[in-house]
């Protein structure tokens, strides 16, 4: 798979997942715009089966954490090797209720309540993965996985390679991260910037109930170790999702709002700040194209590139820190691949390089706000 810093030659000519069909029971259903509602439209892909463009039923409404839960339940029913490890995932039902009821359904061994030992139970996930299981490891807060960095970097990311391809690590590592509401510095971390350099690791970030379910299923089915970043403030988002089974492509970005003037690349919670800014921008006469990149590693340079070739201006809006963040890598990748299409320098709005303060006014000041996004677009489009 193409990496974030891939050179020009490595930009895929076709969309990610083109020609791929998802496995076993699920057919890759591309949901019609009507079912999703609002401005969000999926770009039709050449390989989408035409019979799947309209969903037959109305769909059902649920919250994002319920979508994750639904995905887990479906996958655990389909494949008995799928299991969950984490603190309080079992009897307690999960700190954010993503695994509520699963222990009753699947038992204490498949939904394993671990002691507080992130490094070791993540390593257990690696060992179990090498021996045929498909563990989903939950970090109660993504920040806690800093303690598992040894296992995530050395073993999760590397063993497929150092074993000469003999072992797969089909692990999913997931959990809530990001800046919440006054949770304090240590519970407000964005680990995507720390993990992105780990070779062998794949990373995705969900932002809606629809993509949360689809990405969770895809991550579980993937033979690669995938880190699924959820956000503490997005768990209660409500959306209607299809009744039919669907699996999303891990490497694909999501077109949130097509436009002509500027490409805004974002992910996770910042998608909502961007959309809020977009309302203001539209009133001012701008037409921003908003893409939720979703795939943090590798980047979907196909979708991103098509957009840049159209708008010639790029703004990146992210929640991780400026230094060494996802935006920094994305900027490099765009410069490497699409330099000739740019009419303006790439702008990147990131969180401040500070520990997240407790006080709410200070906390708000460290994170990108819609007003800053509006100002940035106005500057870029001069």
């Amino acid at each position: 798979m193409a990496t974030a810093s891939s050179l020009r030659a490595a930009v895929p000519a076709t969309a990610p997942c083109a020609g791929l069909r998802s496995t076993s029971a699920a057919s890759s259903v591309r949901v019609a715009p009507a079912a999703r509602g609002g401005r969000g439209r999926l770009v039709a892909k050449a390989d989408a089966p035409s019979s799947a463009t309209a969903s037959k039923s109305d769909g059902h409404e649920l919250l994002l954490f319920e979508a994750l839960r639904e995905a887990l339940i479906e996958e655990m029913k389909l494949d008995p090797t799928v299991c969950v490890f984490g603190e309080d995932v079992g009897h307690y039902g999960g700190s954010y209720k993503v695994t509520k009821g699963l222990a009753d359904m699947f038992g204490d061994l498949r939904v394993l309540d671990t002691p507080i030992a992130e490094n070791s139970f993540t390593g257990m996930g690696v060992g179990a993965g090498m021996k045929g299981l498909r563990p989903v490891v939950e970090g109660m807060n993504m920040g806690f996985l800093l303690l598992a960095y040894n296992q995530i970097s050395n073993n999760c990311g590397m063993l497929h390679y150092t074993s000469g391809g003999q072992f797969k690590i089909p692990l999913v590592i997931r959990g809530p991260g990001g800046v919440g509401r006054q949770l304090g510095a240590e519970h407000s971390q964005r680990l995507e910037s720390y993990f992105q350099s780990i070779p062998g690791l794949q990373m995705v970030a969900c932002s809606t109930p629809y993509n949360a379910k689809g990405l969770m299923k895809a991550a579980i089915r993937s033979e690669n170790p995938v880190v699924l970043f959820e956000h503490v403030l997005l768990y209660n988002l409500k959306e209607k999702i299809p009744d039919e089974e669907y699996v999303l492509c891990l490497e694909e970005a999501e077109m949130v709002r097509p436009g002509e003037h500027v490409t805004i690349l974002t992910y996770s919670r910042m998608r909502y700040h961007v959309m809020q800014a977009a309302k203001t921008l539209v009133n001012k006469g701008y037409d921003p194209e908003v893409i939720d990149i979703r795939s943090l590693k590798p980047f979907d340079l196909h979708t991103i590139g098509n957009s840049i070739k159209k708008t010639h201006r790029v703004l990146i809006v992210e929640e991780c820190m400026r230094t060494g963040g996802i935006g920094a890598s994305l900027r490099s990748a765009i410069i490497d691949n699409f330099w000739d299409y740019l009419d303006a320098p790439i702008m990147c709005l990131s969180s401040q390089d500070v520990p997240t303060p407790y006080a709410s006014t200070l906390e708000d000041a460290t994170v990108v706000q819609p007003a800053q996004i509006v100002a940035a677009v106005e500057q870029i489009c001069q």
Partner: protein, 347 residues
């Protein structure tokens, strides 16, 4: 040549001498009749796990050779030859590595196993194909004992595509899926959770997937050294393995030195086997230079795991004849020992 036996007392003497003070007496050898064990049982009435936890400081055999031979009629000539061949292979292989390294044909960090052969042979030759071995950077001989062809291991050390890991892993990352060798790890302690996960998978296969082997659960052996026993992952995994009664044996290859750091200088309580009962599992100490003693203890620990009774912590006191790695000038150790595991078996 008789391999003299080690007891816990040997660990204590140097510490007491240095500090000049008295230490509490060691836990008594043997279990059921000791006052300590009785106290455990009394006080452990409301702690069911404690009641069954034993610190067994054992020399499984008495130091007497004749008694030893008599106590083990089960080691046939064929078995003894198999053990001998495995130990000699390990020794000769490692010696060849040293030769190649010093001739400038092998590179990087190479950690040799000379002197510790009895542990690898004693344990691994009892395993089935389906059982797993997890090792550290000192993994060449574990690979050989588990059945990875010597040619494949040596090719890996030369970085060749014909190596067991296609030259991508190297000395410290030996893997073999067909032989269930799950690595080769460079950081100490990081293999133990992987081993714990493999043991978890064995239990899961049995209980959830209803796939049972004819002998019982597939067992995983985790090998690591004395230095690792001060590392968090060691303790975290002892806890989890006992909590879920995983089919794993934690094998400590205590060669008393972590590069230049003596075990006694690094460890508040140097008797590693005692740390097993702290987590509710048996802790066994054995002379790691005597392959028959190691095999005796290994047999019981592996059978326990197979029956689903949970993990065991086995401390094998052993010694490495060479430095920590081929790059180690090895100036601090003063080997006064005269134990040769291979020739001991010959006699």
């Amino acid at each position: 040549m008789a391999a003299a036996s080690f007891t816990a007392a040997k660990f204590l003497a140097p510490v007491a001498a240095r500090s000049g003070g008295e230490r509490a007496p060691p836990l008594p050898a043997g279990a059921s009749s000791s006052s300590f064990a009785r106290a455990l049982r009394r006080g452990g009435a409301h702690h069911p796990r404690l009641r069954t936890a034993l610190a067994v400081s054992s020399d499984v055999l008495a130091g007497n050779k004749a008694q030893a031979a008599a106590a083990h009629p089960a080691v046939t000539r064929e078995e003894a030859l198999e053990l001998y061949e495995d130990m000699v292979l390990g020794r000769v292989f490692e010696d060849m590595c040293a030769q190649m390294y010093y001739r400038g044909k092998m590179f990087g960090f190479v950690h040799l196993y000379n002197g510790q052969e009895a542990v690898s042979t004693g344990f691994i030759k009892l395993l089935n194909q389906a059982d797993c071995v997890v090792s550290t950077y000192r993994d060449h001989v574990h690979a050989l004992s588990k059945g990875v062809p010597a040619r494949s291991v040596m090719a890996e050390l030369f970085g060749k595509a014909t190596g067991c890991c296609r030259g991508q892993g190297g000395s410290m990352h030996m893997f073999s899926a067909p032989h269930n060798l799950l690595g080769g790890f460079a950081f100490i302690g990081e293999g133990i959770p992987v081993a714990t996960g493999a043991a978890f998978a064995a239990k899961y296969r049995h209980e959830v997937l209803k796939q049972s082997g004819p002998d019982g659960l597939d067992v995983t052996l985790a090998f690591f050294g004395d230095g690792t026993c001060n590392n968090g992952q060691f303790f975290e995994c002892l806890n989890m393995a006992q909590l879920w009664k995983l089919p794993i044996v934690f094998v400590v290859e205590n060669n008393l030195w972590a590069i230049g750091m003596s075990h006694l200088r690094a460890t508040s309580d140097p008797e590693i086997y005692k740390k097993g009962p702290a987590f509710g599992m048996p802790g066994v100490h054995v002379d790691g230079m005597d392959v028959l003693k190691v095999r005796e203890v290994a047999k019981e620990a592996i059978e326990r795991a197979r029956r689903g009774e949970g993990p065991t912590l086995v401390e094998c006191e052993t010694y490495r004849f060479r430095g920590h790695s081929l790059a180690d000038p090895d100036e601090l150790r003063k080997p006064g020992k005269n134990y040769f595991p291979i020739s001991a078996l010959l006699h």
